[in-house]
Amino acid sequence: MSKSQMPIPETLLMKESMLTKKKIPIAHKQTKRQQQYFFTTVGILFIVCLLQIDISFSQFQEGVARIPSVLSMMLQMSFTEFPGLASEMVVSLVTAFLSLVLSIVFAVVLAFLAARNTTPNRHIGMLLRFLFMIIRAIPATVWVLIAVASIGFGTMAGVLGLIFPTCSYLVKSFSAQIEEVGQETIEALQSVGATWWHIVFRGLIPTLLTSFLAITAFRFEMNVAESVILGMVGAGGIGLLIQGYISFYEFSSLSLGILMVFITMFLLEFMTTQIRRRMSN
């Protein structure tokens, strides 16, 4: 019976469209409208923002004219500062690594308390998630500035200041993993009468260990990038030296510093990608 009914609406539609010479719509109406709204809003915002900044064509022109001379100064790389830069690069790496390791210790415990499906108490879980949301909302730079203000300049302030954003990032990522893949594991161990500790240590940690390590490797990369920049606000490390070179227009040393940061980040990214690839197998 459906065979005789099916073609009727189609032919009607075709006839109608031939009469009015209208194209037959094919898009999902709601999706299309949403897309239109989105692009219109972005367009309007872009124009509003353009009007907000002072566009000075002369400044732009002068700046462009200066680029060749700045570039040529930066191309004259001097290696006299290499030992100092290298040792400060190590300090930056150490800062990143220490804050990461300390954060992991806290984050592994807190993630299981914060994840919706493993929290021993709904209210504690909610409180923790809210707390870490606030910590994440404050940029790492501000945390380091607070640390510098309270314990003074140096690497210790860098480590302490980085712990907050690192820890909250790890808690967020770990607990997302727990919530995503944990349910089957949790039910399996609940059904045999396991305790919370059994579920965490014998079920979830073995299952999630590799993804936790992959997240951590990625975060190490981020931490190094952070600690390089944070040197500029007084946390020690290579950022402090680079900041000095900029202030005193020492372009030859500056370009060496930038090159070293670039090479370090490149190697790190290469390494963490390798680690993550091996983990996923």
């Binding site: 399996a188 059904s191 045999v192 009468g193 305790t195 500790w197 014998r202």
Partner: protein, 257 residues
């Protein structure tokens, strides 16, 4: 025969307001092998999960070995659960751990948190677990990682984990729904044989009516959250099955293939 599980007036309403179970009454005697059949969405899975409280029942009482499950404290619930094995449709193994470790997880219910966290399983438990694995034909797989096994093998590990609990009752939630016919037979045989040998009562959720009839001594049919048939396998008529799957004949057809 003494009764080990008694469910009276059990009801479950989900947060969204869906009534998954209404007025369920069921008694399980020691060593009974009961198949729970019904179309998908009938509430079979909810019924099983209410028994070990992976899902909290809304109303009614569940009595297991003279203990009220729905009222049990956290600690008592743990003890109750340790006497009740569960087999899952998706096996729910710890895939990064070895096969033997997975079977030993069945002993966690009898261990303290510290002992469990530090892997202090009894040597006797280990021997028992290896014996169980040999019995289901997995002696060559003992030290493999659980994710290296095939589906049928994984489910046999799941069966061993439940048996390692030394349970009075096994709840099997669609144990063969993700398996091919050959593996299904192996898994069902493993469940059936071991339950018979050790006098373990078993509630099996099944899609396949023919499988249910082959193994079960008693069949419980669930439709739209209520029990519409409860009796010996022989008394389940074709008309009854037709009524059970009314509107879901597609599922019946799929089974036949």
């Amino acid at each position: 025969m003494e009764s080990i599980l008694k469910i009276t007036n059990l009801a479950k309403r989900y947060n969204g307001g869906t009534l998954a179970l209404t007025d369920i009454n069921l008694e399980v005697k020691k060593g009974e092998f009961i198949a729970v059949i019904g179309p998908s969405g009938a509430g079979k899975s909810t019924l099983l999960r209410c028994i070990n409280r992976l899902i909290e029942p809304t109303e009614g009482s569940i009595e297991f070995l003279n203990q009220r499950i729905e009222k049990a404290s956290k600690n008592d619930l743990r003890k109750i659960r340790s006497k009740m094995g569960m087999i899952f449709q998706h096996y729910n193994l710890i895939y990064r751990s070895s096969v033997l470790e997975n079977v030993l997880h069945g002993r966690l219910g009898y261990m303290s948190s510290v002992a469990g966290v530090f892997n202090r399983y009894q040597e006797a438990d280990k021997r028992e677990a290896i014996m169980l694995l040999e019995k289901v034909g997995l002696e060559a797989e003992i030290y493999k990682r659980a994710d290296e096994l095939s589906g049928g093998q994984k489910q046999r590990v799941g069966v061993c984990r439940a048996l390692a609990q030394n349970p009075e009752l096994i709840l099997a939630d669609e144990p063969i729904a993700s398996l091919d016919p050959k593996s299904s037979a192996v898994v069902m045989d493993a469940i059936y044989k071991n339950c018979k040998e050790q006098g373990i009562a078993c509630l099996v959720n099944l899609h396949q009516v023919d499988v249910a009839k082959r193994y079960a001594t008693r069949i419980v049919a669930v439709k739209a959250g209520t029990i519409i048939f409860d009796g010996p396998a022989g008394e389940l008529t074709d008309d009854m099955i037709k009524y059970l799957y009314e509107g879901k004949e597609q599922e019946m057809f799929e089974q036949a293939n």
